[in-house]
């Protein structure tokens, strides 16, 4: 199992992500954004969290034009598995690999705290280790996590089982921290090989850090 992790100027979760996947037995490689190729033996490509290009213009807007992104789009179009966490999710929506966009949080605050999430669909490799409707506890840390998609797009997400996770309370009732449409915390593409979420599973790998619910999420990729 080889996990390739992208690093842009301003990425800051690449080492946490590397540590998390190595804990699960994967070999990892961090690839600088100037690279025009990604390692041929890549089983999973992760666009890690952070503040690529200082979030200038819009979060993820400039990273989307880095040299490596052409290879990422080609990899995804050929069925390769791609996971975008936080800023990575923003980059994937800007690149058109995932539908919708991420706006400034409704309360305009940077929100950094543990939050409960409900598993909405698990008929995909990312969440297959988790039960549908189960609740996990994963940290969020973002300023622009307010997911937006128009009505027609939302219907598509619903009918294709593309909504992965919703923000809830511990009982699985909707609790929306940032104003996201339908309280959406994570989605995938129609083909179910590109995944994006605002919460950070790589920061929930050990109980001593508050939660190890991220293990079951990332394990889905490490078969």
């Amino acid at each position: 199992m080889k996990v390739t992790i992208l690093q842009f100027p301003g990425t800051n979760c690449e080492y946490d992500t590397q540590h998390a996947f190595e804990q699960l037995g994967a070999t990892t490689e961090i690839v600088w954004h100037k690279s025009e190729t990604i390692p041929a033996d890549t089983n999973l490509l992760v666009v890690a969290g952070g503040f690529s290009y200082g979030d200038y213009l819009r979060s993820g807007a400039i990273a989307r034009f880095s040299p490596v992104m052409k290879a990422v789009i080609k990899y995804a179009e050929n069925g390769g598995k791609v996971l975008g966490i936080c800023n990575g999710f923003q980059v994937l929506t800007e690149a058109g690999l995932l539908p919708g966009a991420l706006k400034r949080n409704d309360n305009l605050h940077f929100i950094s705290k543990h939050h409960h999430l409900k598993v909405i669909n698990n008929d995909n490799i990312f969440l297959e280790k988790l039960k549908k409707d189960s609740v996990v506890n994963i940290p969020i840390a973002h300023h622009d996590g307010n997911y937006f998609i128009d009505e027609a797009g939302l219907k598509d997400l619903e009918s294709n089982n593309q909504i992965l996770l919703q923000y809830t309370n511990a009982d699985g009732e909707i609790q929306n921290p940032n104003g996201s449409i339908s309280s959406i915390a994570g989605i995938c593409n129609k083909e179910k090989n590109v995944f994006g979420l605002m919460p950070h599973p790589e920061r929930a790998m050990e109980l001593i850090l508050g939660s190890d619910d991220g293990l079951a999420m990332l394990q889905g990729f490490c078969k």
Binding site: E94, D106, L108
Partner: protein
């Protein structure tokens, strides 16, 4: 030389939280009669060309490709 002034703002129907907060602040300062506040950003470009038609088509392409995210934003271009 042509100057392009581009205004990018959230589409009508997309909640503008910053605009809402500023609206609330104006209200607290007793500025009455403000019905709506929308906040956007302005991008100013200095272009080599003097040809406004060329400039417009170039700048439109820039807006579609990077300067605006047309999923949530509209843009208006003014050329001087």
């Amino acid at each position: 030389m042509t100057t392009a002034i581009i205004n990018v703002s959230l589409k009508a129907g997309v909640l503008d939280s910053q605009g809402k907060a500023v609206h609330h602040a104006l209200d607290s300062l007793h500025f009455k009669g403000v019905n709506d506040v929308r906040i956007g950003k302005q991008i100013v470009l200095k272009l080599d060309t003097d040809d406004k038609t060329v400039a417009m088509s170039e700048v439109e392409k820039m807006c579609e490709d990077i300067l605006a995210n047309t999923v949530i934003e509209d843009y208006k271009i003014e050329l001087i």
